[in-house]
């Protein structure tokens, strides 16, 4: 465990139990998941039982207990995207990457996820790769976009 890395995150907070979610978010952002050893330290530092940490970590969709891939693909399944081909877009990504939503490719390059709504409804169907949005994404554009992110 990289103690220094974790300490940098913890030093931003006052160590209250109420800081639990922001601390976990920072760990998730930096590590791409919540490693168990780190969580034990968090439990100690914030004085929160480990069970509560697991309850929070499994309740919120943002958290993952296993490492995620280098790139996060989030396919929007909001109402407008649902009506305008979001599910098909999802399948196309899933088919090309060979993983179901919620999983990561074997080479750890991509994690595929669905999201309730990305709020770019006028350009449905929409997907987001890391922090970049892609609008009016027909399934035939999927291979080209994936290529941009493959190494």
């Amino acid at each position: 465990m990289d103690q220094e890395r974790l300490d940098t995150i913890l030093s931003r907070y006052e160590g209250d139990a109420a800081d639990l979610i922001p601390v976990l978010q920072d760990i998730q952002d930096q590590y791409s998941y919540l490693p168990k050893d780190e969580l034990k330290v968090v439990a100690q530092k914030l004085n929160v039982p480990l069970t509560r940490i697991f309850s929070v970590a499994t309740f919120y969709k943002m958290f993952s207990l296993i490492p995620k891939g280098r790139h996060q693909i989030r396919v929007c399944l909001g109402t407008t995207c649902h009506l305008r081909g979001g599910p098909r877009l999802m399948e196309s990504f899933s088919h090309r990457l060979g993983v179901e939503p919620g999983y990561t490719t074997k080479d750890m390059q991509f994690s595929l996820e669905t999201v309730g709504c990305l709020g770019s409804c006028a350009q449905a169907p929409v997907a987001m790769i890391d922090d970049k949005y892609f609008g009016r994404l027909a399934t035939d554009k999927v291979p080209k976009i994936l290529k941009l992110y493959k190494n």
Binding site: Q25, V56, T79, G119, D131, D140
Partner: protein, 617 residues
């Protein structure tokens, strides 16, 4: 950068700022709102930067990336001020021409201006485009004028004047009184009178109180809160300052869903600026009033939009709702009196203080005052964000602003209120939209999503979509919601798989009633609305699924049949490459065959075929 040392200092700073600014300053505003970002606004802005440099115009023309400019259907949008020329569907390749023709020679580039969907007439100026002409922006007013990252831009538009006004001449009671008289009701869904909520909290016992901005915007199909947080973050902060002063809070939270990274960034930046200028912190402008703000990022749970769940989430727990009463205004964050309002509600507050409650109360209908922002999306020609006075009819919004239904299709329904709302059929197109009227037809105002549907949408599928959304998002605390949704989803799945029975419909209605009565929070209480409204107005569609085992809109997969027309198939193999289960076989340049046994009806072959050789029924 000054720190405002007194209330007069702020006024003086604004005066000097305006004196320094040239109203004739040439400005290029590239929209970087929710609709334009996915279509490449960053690239367009970069192209402008480069071109302005190349032409030596950096000092002469001001380039800004603005918030949402409204008409998202024609992204990427660019507006040139002060002439208010709107360009649409701009690509980086168009930029040199815009710079040369418009900025250097004052000519309009015809091919990039608005074209009316029906008449084909071309319009260059914002004020003449019907989409904008029918609107009355209060909350969206500054979005296509200011740079959301510039506090000066906000101040130049009259920003923090409301704060200055309350601190110089109004008591907390007078502020509450004004908000009450304005008739402002919550824009987050429930429509509770804002002033009354503030009064309850103001009168609650206790020294320590909180205020919260609900920026969770979980309703799928809604993005007005995102647009406001990204495009005018200081308006939210100023609204909260005014609310804090009124109820006596010294600390506040803005809860933003993590799916909106840009909103988080912009709010963080704005809070930093406000602190630096002394607009947040202790003893603001030496008035004796102190208030500070913190951002709480959501972690991906729809139910956290519900106020008690949201409060638990800020406290560091899982987002399970609690029974009300007590209401947050009495016992909220850490058990202390807390006012929680929606983003759009907060953004209305500074203008109500500036222009007076009478001004606000004169807009709208008897029981719904002011304007409402809607995200108009789906099967309309002109999708985007619109802000209209309460009481505007659905027809005006969809046909006048929205420019009618895409590809001249017929209007089928409009879905309002997200997963707690319903589908409204064409009989009610002339319904004036306000809190009460929408409720009377089995839907709700909700946060303002308006999803328009034509014959390509299946109402059974829409009901199933919302149920499965809620099923995923139900926190599981109360049984009626957790189990009710499961059973309802099961029944709808039976129908969609061709195993439905007439009796299922009555059973669903019964379940709906039980969930509405017995669920703990709004999620379960209103989960019935998408089902009940579609059952009420589109029962025939359910019956067709059950009796004829057909989906007339060709949406419900298990009821579809795909085939390849040997006459039209060119054997290009595009569908073969796309098919995930290898159900399509044949030689290159020969007609292909589809194995019905293997087919999973995903429709990818249908989408990939350039020759319309894949048929579906």
């Amino acid at each position: 950068m000054p720190k405002f040392e007194s209330l007069d200092h702020l006024r003086e700073y604004r005066r000097q700022l305006l004196a320094r600014r040239d109203p004739q300053q040439l400005q290029v505003l590239v929209c970087a709102g929710p609709g334009c970002l996915p279509m490449g606004s960053e690239e367009v802005a970069a192209a402008f930067k480069e071109e302005l440099q190349a032409k030596g115009l950096e000092g002469k023309v001001l380039l800004k990336e603005s918030g949402c400019q409204g008409l998202c259907a024609r992204a990427v949008r660019v507006i040139l001020r002060p002439r208010e020329i709107c360009y649409q569907q701009v690509t980086p390749e168009d930029v040199p021409e815009i710079v040369e023709a418009t900025l250097m020679n004052g000519q309009v580039v015809d091919r990039l201006i608005y074209e009316a969907p029906l008449t084909g007439s071309k319009i260059a100026h914002k004020s003449e485009i019907p989409f904008y002409r029918g609107q009355q922006p209060i909350v969206l007013r500054k979005l296509d004028v200011i740079d959301p990252e510039s506090l000066d831009d906000y101040l130049a538009m009259g920003g923090y004047r409301g704060l200055r006004k309350i601190l110089t001449e109004m008591t907390p009671e007078a502020v509450i009184d004004a908000v009450e008289r304005s008739g402002l009701r919550g824009r987050g869904g429930g429509g509770f009178p804002t002033g009354r909520k503030w009064r309850v909290c103001h009168e609650a016992e206790g020294e320590v109180k909180f205020i919260i901005c609900n920026g969770d915007e979980g309703d799928p199909g809604a993005f007005m809160d995102r647009a406001v947080m990204e495009g005018d973050p200081h308006a939210v902060i100023e609204g909260m300052l005014i609310g804090a002063y009124a109820i006596g809070a010294r600390k506040g939270y803005i809860y933003v869903r993590h799916e909106y990274p840009l909103a988080v960034k912009r709010l963080q930046l704005a809070i930093g600026q406000a602190r630096q200028f002394g607009l947040l912190g202790s003893n603001i402008m030496r008035s004796g009033f102190g208030f500070d703000l913190k951002i709480a990022r959501g972690a991906g749970a729809f139910v956290c939009g519900e106020e008690t769940a949201l409060i638990h989430s800020i406290e560091g727990f899982i987002g399970e709702p609690s029974p009300r009463p007590p209401y947050p205004a009495q016992a909220g964050l850490w058990g202390l009196p807390t006012v929680i309002n929606n983003v759009e509600t907060w953004a209305n507050v500074p203008e109500i203080i500036n222009l007076g409650p009478e001004w606000f109360a004169a807009i709208g209908t008897e029981n719904s005052k002011g304007t409402k922002v809607f995200s108009l999306v789906g099967a309309v020609n002109q999708t985007g964000l619109v802000e209209v006075p309460m009481g505007t009819t659905l027809r005006q919004i969809i046909f006048e602003l929205g420019g009618g239904i895409r590809q001249d299709h017929e209007f089928k329904a409009v879905q309002t209120g997200g997963p707690s709302g319903g589908c409204i059929p064409k009989e009610f197109l002339d319904l004036p939209v306000d809190y009460d009227s929408l409720q009377s037809v089995g839907s709700i105002m909700g946060s303002g999503g308006m999803i328009v549907m034509d014959h390509t949408s299946c109402m059974v599928d829409v009901a199933r979509y919302f149920l499965s959304f809620l099923f995923e998002e139900s926190c599981g605390k109360c049984t009626p919601c957790r189990e009710g949704l499961r059973q309802m989803l099961f029944l709808l799945d039976e129908i969609i798989h061709g195993r439905g029975e007439e009796a299922h419909l009555a059973l669903m209605e019964e379940l709906c009633a039980a969930m509405a009565d017995a669920s703990l929070c709004g999620l379960g209480q209103s989960a019935a609305n998408p089902v009940l409204s579609t059952l009420k107005y589109f029962r025939q569609e359910y019956e067709t699924h059950i009796r004829d085992k057909k989906c007339p809109a060709l949406v419900c997969r298990p009821l579809l049949k795909y085939s390849i027309d040997p006459e039209t198939c060119t054997g290009c193999l595009a569908c073969v490459r796309e098919c995930p289960v290898g159900a399509i076989t044949g030689l290159k340049k020969q007609p292909q065959e589809l194995d019905q046994e293997l087919c999973i009806k995903c429709g990818l072959c249908f989408e990939s075929c350039q020759f319309e050789a894949v048929k579906v029924e």
